[in-house]
Symmetry: C2
Subunit: 259 residues, 2 copies
C-alpha cells in the first residue's frame, strides 16, 4: 500500500528544507510539486531537483484542482511526496487533496514547513499574538474585485490587531503582485468605502523575500511606500493595528531606512 | 565583529531543523538555548547536542529576561546562535533581545522555524485563513486568572473565526498544561462570565505533539474531551468558529476516532 506525504519547503531557496522533509522526499518513489498557490523564493525547479537528488514532476494548476487523479493513483500504489512552498497545509486545495486521499483509504502524512504566516510578523518585529485574521489580495478584474480583504483589515484594526496581507500570484502567467500594487488595491477600496481603513497616510509595513538573504522590510505611510521598489517577488504587506512601544522600536531598528 | 543569529528548531525532535538552521548553528562559536517559552517535543538537550555536533549552553529563564548580558557580550565578540523551539520570533522576550542587540550595534539574523501557530490548523484540517487572534492560557493562580483568552475566543467566534489556544508551560518546574486542564480553565471562565463561549457542549479540537510521529488530534464536546488522555506534552486546543463543510469533513477523517 502507498502513502501520500505533503511536504513543505519553507520560504526561500533550498535551505529552508527540514531534515524531515529531505528524508520524506528521498524515500518517495514519485515526487510531485506545484508552485502556483505558493512560490519558493530564489530557487528553480532544477536547483530543487539537484538539492533533493530527485526528479520532481511539476504539476499545472488544473492537475491539482480538478480531481488530482494522477497524484492519488500514484499515492495508492507507492510512497508519493507532494511538495509545495511554505507550509503544505495552508492552501485549501491541499486540504481538499488530503480529504480525497483519506476517503480513498490512502495513508497521509504531513511534513510542516516554515510559513510566511508566522515569519512575516517576526521579520517585522511585531508580536505574533497581536495579529488577527490573515487576508489575501487578488489581482482586480473588471467584474471581480472583492472588498473582503479591506473588511478583514477594518475588523482587525477595530480590535487593535495587525493584519498580514498576502498578495496574489499567478505563477503560470509569471505574475506576482508587488507591495506597491497591493497598496493601490487597498487604496482603491478605501476610495469606494471611505471607512478610513487604509488611507494614503496609514502607516504600513511592506516585506519582500522574507527568509531569504536579501529580505527587505520597509515601513512608512502608504503614499510613500507605494513608490518603493522592493525588487523580485514574493512581497507581502502588514497593516498594523495598535503598535506597542516595543513594536514601534523594533520597526525603527528593523525597517530602517524608513521611507 | 560578532553576530546574533536567532534559530528556530521547529516542533518535534531534531528532524524539524532546516538546512539553514544546521548551517547557522554549526558555524557559530557559541550556541545558547532556552526551552521555557517553548518546548521541543521528544528531544533532550543531549540529543540536540549530538545532532548538531555542538555544545549548547542551556539558559535559565532569568538569564534571557533580565538583561541577557551574557548572550549580548558573546554576540558582540563572535558569531553566536540562540536556539529555541518553534519559530524564534514568536516570543516577545526574543523580540526584546533582538532590539537590545540592534541597539548595541550587533548584527542580527533570523532563521525561521516551523511553528505551532501554522501547523496546528493544518494538522486539524482547518483553513488557516479562518483563524483569528491566537491566545495563550496560563496556569490559574489565587490572584491571577486572566479572562483575556476567554474574551479572545469570544471575539473570534463572534466573527465566525477559529481560535488557536496555546497552553502554559513552566519547563523549569516540569509543568506543562494539558488539553484537559486548558478546557477546565476555559469552562471556569464560562461559569463566571456566562457568555456561552465555551460550554460543556462546545465542540473543541485538542492536539498533542503536533508534527511528531505520535501526534494526536481529537475532536468532540468539551465535556468529553476533558476526559481524554492525550499523553505527554505539548498540547494545544482549537476552539472552532463556523466550520466550513470541508473542514467538518476533514475533522471527521483526521480526528477519528471521535471522542
Amino acid at each position: 500500500v502507498g502513502e501520500l506525504i505533503f511536504v513543505g519547503l519553507g520560504l526561500a531557496g533550498t535551505k529552508d528544507l527540514t531534515l524531515r522533509a529531505l528524508d520524506a522526499v528521498r524515500h518517495a518513489r514519485t515526487v510531485f510539486a506545484e508552485f502556483y498557490t505558493s512560490h519558493l523564493v530564489g530557487a528553480t525547479h532544477s536547483q530543487l531537483e539537484r538539492e533533493l537528488d530527485k526528479r520532481i514532476v511539476l504539476l499545472a494548476r488544473d492537475e491539482v484542482e480538478s480531481g488530482a487523479e494522477r497524484i492519488l493513483d500514484a499515492a495508492a500504489q507507492h510512497r508519493t511526496a507532494f511538495v509545495t512552498a511554505g507550509d503544505p497545509m495552508t492552501a485549501t486545495t491541499h486540504q481538499d487533496l488530503r480529504i480525497r486521499a483519506l476517503r480513498r483509504g490512502i495513508p497521509v502524512r504531513i511534513v510542516h514547513g516554515v510559513s510566511i504566516q508566522v515569519a512575516a510578523a517576526g521579520a517585522a518585529g511585531l508580536h505574533s499574538y497581536k495579529f488577527g485574521r490573515t487576508t489575501t489580495l487578488v489581482f482586480p478584474q473588471p467584474n471581480f474585485n472583492p472588498a473582503s480583504p479591506y473588511e478583514t483589515v477594518r475588523d482587525n484594526r477595530a480590535r487593535g490587531l495587525h493584519t498580514l496581507v498576502l498578495l496574489d500570484l499567478r505563477a503560470d502567467e509569471g505574475r506576482y503582485m508587488s507591495a506597491a500594487q497591493g497598496i493601490e488595491v487597498l487604496l482603491g477600496h478605501e476610495q469606494q468605502r471611505r471607512e478610513s481603513v487604509v488611507t494614503p497616510d496609514t502607516e504600513l509595513v511592506a516585506l519582500a523575500r522574507v527568509g531569504a538573504d536579501d529580505q527587505r522590510v520597509v515601513w512608512g505611510p502608504a503614499k510613500r511606500l507605494r513608490e518603493a521598489d522592493l525588487g523580485p517577488p514574493l512581497h507581502c504587506l502588514i497593516v498594523p493595528g495598535e503598535l506597542h512601544f516595543s513594536e514601534r522600536e523594533a520597526l525603527e531598528l528593523v525597517a530602517a531606512p524608513r521611507v
